[in-house]
């Protein structure tokens, strides 16, 4: 089936990254369609973090090109880049929260500094998102006093508060427990319902990829070795994919999907 070009929110063509003589990524070709959950899955040193940096515009590729929401990242002027980034939410591995600010101030930051809201308007909105993610009790705390689960949820709240079209999540869901993962993905689906929120997840966790992904790309040694819907990946005959999936058969057989259901559960 041919997809309309406006349905493709992110595309990478012939992407390659080298640091000095070391090839980190090579020949990456992916298209991410609007509204889908696309998961990049791979173990340690597979090039996942570098690919995340390239797709979010933090590192320039050595070869190939990346188009995000119709803009080629390489050619962006700083003003267009700022405007583009208003439509993109990024939740970083480890949170990357500003430790000099409280949890509430961290979530308010994009509202004040990017959307230009006054503090009296931004506070209510930020508190609403913190409540959705079950973080109301910690809003006055410093990020350094939070647990990793709370840090990841604050990072998610900060990434979502501007209601982005595309959400990048770098290893945000792994290690959270299935119940919390279910609730977070349900929340994402609720928030994205009707708005076509596209979620791009980078994770080493096979369970996250197979339980929540619409499309999965498996990375190994800087290359995408398999890509497609979850069912296709499961039946992929490639030896490397089979080797990767072998210890995880029980996860594949217990794949559960969460469905959106209009904010019935207001907090986690």
């Amino acid at each position: 089936m041919t997809r309309k070009s406006e349905d493709i929110v992110l595309s990478a063509e012939g992407l390659g990254v080298s640091f000095d003589d070391r090839v980190v990524l090579q020949d990456i070709n992916v298209n991410v369609q609007r509204g889908e959950i696309f998961v990049f899955m791979g173990g340690g040193a597979c090039g996942k973090s570098v690919l995340f940096q390239v797709l979010t515009g933090d590192v320039a590729p050595t070869k190939g090109r990346v188009k995000l929401l119709g803009h080629e990242l390489r050619d962006l002027k700083s003003r267009t880049r700022s405007q583009l980034l208003r439509k993109v939410g990024i939740a970083y591995q480890g949170g990357a929260l500003l430790k000099s600010l409280t949890v509430l101030e961290n979530v308010e930051l994009p509202l004040i500094e990017v959307a230009g809201l006054k503090r009296r308007d931004s506070t209510g909105r930020a508190k609403e998102f913190l409540a959705l993610l079950g973080l109301s009790k910690v809003e006055a705390l410093s990020p350094s006093s939070l647990s990793m689960s709370e840090i990841k949820r604050v990072a998610l709240a900060r990434a979502l508060v501007l209601e982005p079209e595309v959400l990048f999540c770098d290893d945000v869901f792994s290690g959270l427990g299935w119940r919390l993962q279910d609730k977070l993905f349900k929340l994402l689906l609720d928030l994205g319902e009707g708005k076509g929120l596209t979620v791009i997840v980078f994770t080493p966790a096979l369970d996250v990829a197979f339980r929540f992904g619409d499309q999965v790309a498996i990375l190994e040694e800087g290359c995408v070795i398999a890509q497609g819907p979850v069912d296709e990946i499961k039946t992929n005959k490639d030896e490397r994919v089979q080797h990767l999936l072998a210890p995880k058969r029980e996860i594949l057989s217990s794949r559960r999907r969460v469905e959106p259901n209009a904010m019935s559960e207001r907090s986690l």
């Binding site: 208003r86 970083y92 990357a96 990017v114």
Partner: protein
């Protein structure tokens, strides 16, 4: 032997290139700060005044105890020398006028520069380096927030106020200490001694001293920010970044001091 010489030349060349590229990057960074301060409000992204106020407290008010300590200690050392000199030459007015001139023009700004490098430069470099390692800088960029506007421009604006003030307060503290020492050691009236020292300071001397303080402050900010922001990519740890920032800042202060002294009118 030849390989050793070639290796040494290569290392020297690489060092020169890194110094030149670092200097150019520092100038660009300072230019970016100036640009955000002047034009940020045009784009609806002004430099945050609350952050400037915080930085005035951090870089200025919190430096006061250290400035007082330096002023009293240097003032006392100078007083001992003045007493020895006056006892042998009996030429108090000329000596105090020279001390006033020397303090505001040369010694005061230089010591103020070293205080700023140790306190403000190291603080800025370690904070930015830690933020860089924790990907806080990357996160700011990812949100479309320029870290220079958000983190560095407030410190830049604050230093425009506090750097000349630090210089002025240091010199004032030194001259006051000298006046009090002379009163207790020689019975010279403090107001009279202070007047003699201030008489030695011309408008040009005062301007040169304040301009030096300002230039040192801006240079320290540029150097420390540059080192702090690039800490993660250079693979440096926060402790090493801090000491490196102090060394480079003091070197920049010394070079600037000589350059301004050579160029400034008498």
């Amino acid at each position: 032997m030849i390989a050793g010489v070639i290796g040494a030349l290569e290392r020297t060349g690489n060092l020169a290139i890194s110094w030149i590229s670092g200097s150019v990057a520092t100038f660009i960074l300072i230019g970016s700060c100036v640009s955000w301060c002047l034009t940020g409000w045009l784009y609806g992204r002004p430099v945050r005044l609350s952050a400037v106020a915080t930085q005035v407290v951090e870089t200025g008010l919190k430096s006061l105890p250290l400035i007082a300590l330096f002023a009293v200690s240097i003032g006392t050392i100078l007083s001992i020398q003045i007493v020895n000199l006056v006892e042998s030459s009996d030429f108090l007015p000329g000596t105090l006028a020279f001390i006033g001139d020397f303090s505001i023009r040369e010694e005061g700004p230089l010591i103020a520069g070293i205080i700023m490098a140790a306190r403000i430069g190291s603080g800025l470099a370690s904070e930015l380096s830690s933020m860089s390692h924790d990907k806080e800088i990357t996160a700011l960029r990812g949100m479309g927030i320029d870290p220079i506007r958000f983190l560095v421009a407030p410190a830049f604006l604050a230093l425009l106020i506090t750097a000349p003030m630090i210089t002025l307060l240091l010199v004032a503290g030194e001259l006051l200490t000298i006046s009090l020492y002379l009163f207790f050691a020689q019975g010279v009236q403090p107001i009279f001694a202070l007047g003699l020292a201030v008489d030695g300071i011309s408008g040009v001397d005062l301007s040169v001293g304040l301009i030096k303080g300002l230039c040192f402050g801006v240079a320290i900010l540029g150097v420390s920010t540059q080192i702090g922001l690039n800490a993660a990519s250079l693979g440096r740890r926060t402790g090493s970044v801090t000491s490196f920032a102090i060394v480079v800042s003091i070197t920049a202060v010394l070079l600037l001091n000589v350059s301004i002294s050579l160029l400034a009118p008498d």
